[in-house]
Symmetry: C3
Amino acid sequence: MPQEDMKKLLLTSPRALESSQSEPGSPVVGILGTGDFSRSLATRLVACGYRVVVGSRTPKRWSSLFPEEAEVTSQEEAVSQADLVFVALFVEHYSTLTGLKELLAGKILVDVSNSTQLSQNQPSNAENLANLFPDSVVVKGFNVISAWTLQTGPRDGSRQVLLCSDSSQAKSTVVQLCRAMGFVPVDMGRLSSARDLENVTLRLFPAWRAPVLCVFVLFLFFYSYNFLRDVLHPYATEGKNAFYKLPVELVNVTLPCVALVMLALVYLAGLAAAFTQLSRGTKYSRFPGWLDRWLRARKQLGLLSFLCAALHAVYSLCLPMRRSARYKLLNAAFKQVKAEQANSWVEEEVWRMELYLSVGILTLGLLSLLAVASIPSVSNTLNWREFSFIQSRLGHTALVMATLHTLLYGWARAFDPAQYRFYLPPTFTLALVLPCAVLLGRLCLALPCVALRLFRIRRGWEKGRRIRFELPAEYHDGADVCSDV
Amino acid sequence: MPQEDMKKLLLTSPRALESSQSEPGSPVVGILGTGDFSRSLATRLVACGYRVVVGSRTPKRWSSLFPEEAEVTSQEEAVSQADLVFVALFVEHYSTLTGLKELLAGKILVDVSNSTQLSQNQPSNAENLANLFPDSVVVKGFNVISAWTLQTGPRDGSRQVLLCSDSSQAKSTVVQLCRAMGFVPVDMGRLSSARDLENVTLRLFPAWRAPVLCVFVLFLFFYSYNFLRDVLHPYATEGKNAFYKLPVELVNVTLPCVALVMLALVYLAGLAAAFTQLSRGTKYSRFPGWLDRWLRARKQLGLLSFLCAALHAVYSLCLPMRRSARYKLLNAAFKQVKAEQANSWVEEEVWRMELYLSVGILTLGLLSLLAVASIPSVSNTLNWREFSFIQSRLGHTALVMATLHTLLYGWARAFDPAQYRFYLPPTFTLALVLPCAVLLGRLCLALPCVALRLFRIRRGWEKGRRIRFELPAEYHDGADVCSDV
Amino acid sequence: MPQEDMKKLLLTSPRALESSQSEPGSPVVGILGTGDFSRSLATRLVACGYRVVVGSRTPKRWSSLFPEEAEVTSQEEAVSQADLVFVALFVEHYSTLTGLKELLAGKILVDVSNSTQLSQNQPSNAENLANLFPDSVVVKGFNVISAWTLQTGPRDGSRQVLLCSDSSQAKSTVVQLCRAMGFVPVDMGRLSSARDLENVTLRLFPAWRAPVLCVFVLFLFFYSYNFLRDVLHPYATEGKNAFYKLPVELVNVTLPCVALVMLALVYLAGLAAAFTQLSRGTKYSRFPGWLDRWLRARKQLGLLSFLCAALHAVYSLCLPMRRSARYKLLNAAFKQVKAEQANSWVEEEVWRMELYLSVGILTLGLLSLLAVASIPSVSNTLNWREFSFIQSRLGHTALVMATLHTLLYGWARAFDPAQYRFYLPPTFTLALVLPCAVLLGRLCLALPCVALRLFRIRRGWEKGRRIRFELPAEYHDGADVCSDV
């Protein structure tokens, strides 16, 4: 084939669907069903320049609801015109289509349905459709897209379309259609993944469940502990009514504890991974399941820690605004006047507070940077060395500073017997256990002998084996599973 | 054609433009015009590996300003070498190109121009170009891209390129060029959309106009109302000068009212949609235009509500920092000492404030989550069930809590005759009208009989018709037009 | 070729790699090396439906670590099966592959390696690979992607893959592979760019270095200056101990100065550009290097300014919460009682503070909007007129308001001799110099004669030349290099 001809061929036909959309007799997109999804899909396809044929048993009834450019006709007519047919019906009505079997043979059917309940064992809707129409090619997709997104177009946050099919050709055709509509197709493999795709929309923040539960448990524990010490103890021993502290003050001393422990948990995961590798003497073995899940939950743990810290900041800033603070101040002024005390200044108290406020604000600033860096489109602009720098270096600095903030807050109290109400140590000492352990662990890993061994393990070295030549592309180590270790 | 040959063909020619860029005699990209846009475009194309020929009447004058790899030559020379020509001239100079008509026949012309004023009736620049060169194929596009973005590359926020053309082949070629340059092409249909594309850059936040106007009107109303009650009334009746309240205190009581009403407006839209459907007994009829626009403006209304709430929080936190607060406190201490009152504690006042502060902070936290979830790249990671959960469940919770915050703030005041200055009820009671109405409406919709009817309507049921079998893919209902209802 | 045949051809073969993945004897993806990167890559490719063959010298050892679907075999076997081979080895082991030279001839080698140190002169790893295998086609890419991202898939922030190669066909094949894996390929041109690509991951925020340095220097200067005036001066002259101010108060007066100067620097750059153009009488000459770098650093300067302003806000809000504030208030109450002063109200002080607080909050609000608009996915939704409106109009408004905030703060102090400690003027007067200069410069540019000249220069006019007809597509001017001028 001479070069000239080929150029011509390529210029005239780079994309099967697109190139033919305006010529007569060319492939068109069919849609079975006339619901919201169907109408939004038709609107979108027409806007992108496709010829659309909608198939219905009662076409006259519906044509006014579809865009003018779309043809609403009988199912048979629609199916016979189109090479690619969207099936936008309820699953329970798939069987009513069997009469179209012959007309659909050799064509691409796109199953857009969702599950109504999570399941793992039943075949997926798409597989059911494939069984009903063995001579057609089924592509699962678009089920994660809402009618609303289809209608308004993907400009408002271009959304991903997950696709799967056993035929790579059919998938590729749908991928192109997808792109032409402005979506970002993501290939999820074979049709056997359809079950997962159909389950996607039934899941509500699966990655957030364990971390949120963790926050709740920690919050309940620390809140009850503080309630015992700060409200119940003065009431039981002195009959002092401090129940007004429940909504603000108790929450405000509980939140930083939760935030600190959560932040420590983020870095404990990496520490556990490092010690696992050190003790096994290799990195070529999978982590246990719980550790793997923990490592994957670090982002969520970190963001929840930031949320608690931010709430703590707002609660703290509200403290001087309250009536209770005002009354206390007025009463203190009264006492001071009565005691003829011209100056109530206590230098140590002043310094302690200035210092822990200052460290606290800087910690919040660091955590904010970490949170901003985890906005998808921001982290997208970072190379992995930058990402690792932020998550690991800045993160550890934040942990050290948060620990310092807590230590400065409690410096005078830890050794004051009056603080051990009901023999319970002050809350902040409890909250410090985990962060201090993590920081100690990090120091251990920084010892030259341990650090060297870990470095060699991460470069592929194994206990009892000589170094092989086919080492991994370990330059990527920085952003590896254990990057934040 | 044997499989081997086809594979070869495919490996050698998947993309017309790309495959030929380095071979001699292959299609190159031409640019007419030598301005900033032209130069940035040339720089970008050269960086992406394309051969670029720039056409100018005075080529010598300009060659130093273009990248070395780009050839700057006469217009005739440039046009005859290229198969795809960018027209980067002022619209008023399009007619000077008529001499190139024959050379441009059969080639793709990309019109990158913008309008200088909004218009709906005149033909677009691209259509004018198409009329001038009937034998060429005109593609409208790249007008939304700035010279700056072209130059720095799309790494800093990959930007969308809106395209339209009557020829799907030409469009597809430009789509590929677009992708190769790192942009995200969005197909906007036929060349008749060119007018819209040219108007895009003239519009300044069209979706924000009505919501911003709404904020201004509400702010003016509540501010004047508060001015009457809190500043003018004490001045008129007691001669008390409270004008110092204008910059901070009055703004601070006005902002939460605006925020609350705006939040109620967000959910009132969905409510109106639901009641419209209920009264019509069908969902298969379009909403009236105003309701449709209102439903589309919910995101903007919500974000502006969050902005007001956040400003209210900052203003409130500033209150104890002010001189006026300090003076008032000192004077109160003076009075307390003179009155020999050792304890000024008022338990009810303390509780009221602790409670409404606490609820207020949590409301702000919820609204922040809603705001973060509407950052495009974050909402992009949510499936529609999660998105709907956040916007509908969390949103309604925020509305309930904001209402509670206001009620707690005003609990003691609503029934205090002294608060009815000039016979005007306290501001917060006015602000509560709409949110309470919305919450009542929601309760109505939750009544079993109403809820069932609405559910059936949304599943496709219609008054006076039997249920058809071709129901819509209603699993998508959650994120539907009425999802947040 | 009849239309029917062509349609068939196109439907069966739009993409070389995809279309063949499931047929026997079709191209498969090979991977040399068995490290983390290799394993993550294999996992991802398998998940996307590709056939993967991993080549290793000791295949038995590794097969358990790879997904079941991937075949782990000898290097020779792997290379002979695949048409596209990822080289995931350490660079120092590239030479061990020379035995595979003949098997690799004509195939695409993807070099995923990174540099271990920044360099400009040595050949890149990819070029070394290309020298070793002159008969193969080398594509550089995927080095910016971490094993972690490969494994979890690009759903969590779809990441860009930078690619370069001398063969556009090979590049196009890898581009498709890339898309199928869910990444966003960005074409970076010829293989000579490989050095840059390999350096990408070694750079740590190159764009942020100068701006961060600038913040540090400014902070140090203003902090020392404030230390001299507010701490050392009272200590030296009156023996007053004010060292407690170091952690909070001094930082809090330093931060707004830094923020204001940084904000002025953002708009000074544009001003400098405009005056350069005015004095040269043309826009067709490159800016000097320092001005170019400065113009490019505006986003970073602006964000750092916002960070300082936000920290200043939090520090300020913390002020009334401190022990020192409490002690001072109590002592003031004591004094007031002793002086028998019933009312300490000073109307001017009250007004001054209410006004500067109010202006300060609004400034922070504006800066927050600017910061939000620079989140990549948000700025992505703006057309350039909107972007320019936000950056230029809102930005200048913020500068005016920040200047006003500072002036209001200092109105009474600038002319108080007691403020000139050690003959040093108050800090805020120093901080005001640059912003006032910038605002004056802007006013100059707004003078009709200057504005007209600048407008004509930006439309292409040049001193000493008549207007040419081939003007640039200057409608894009708004978002041009000098858009924010």
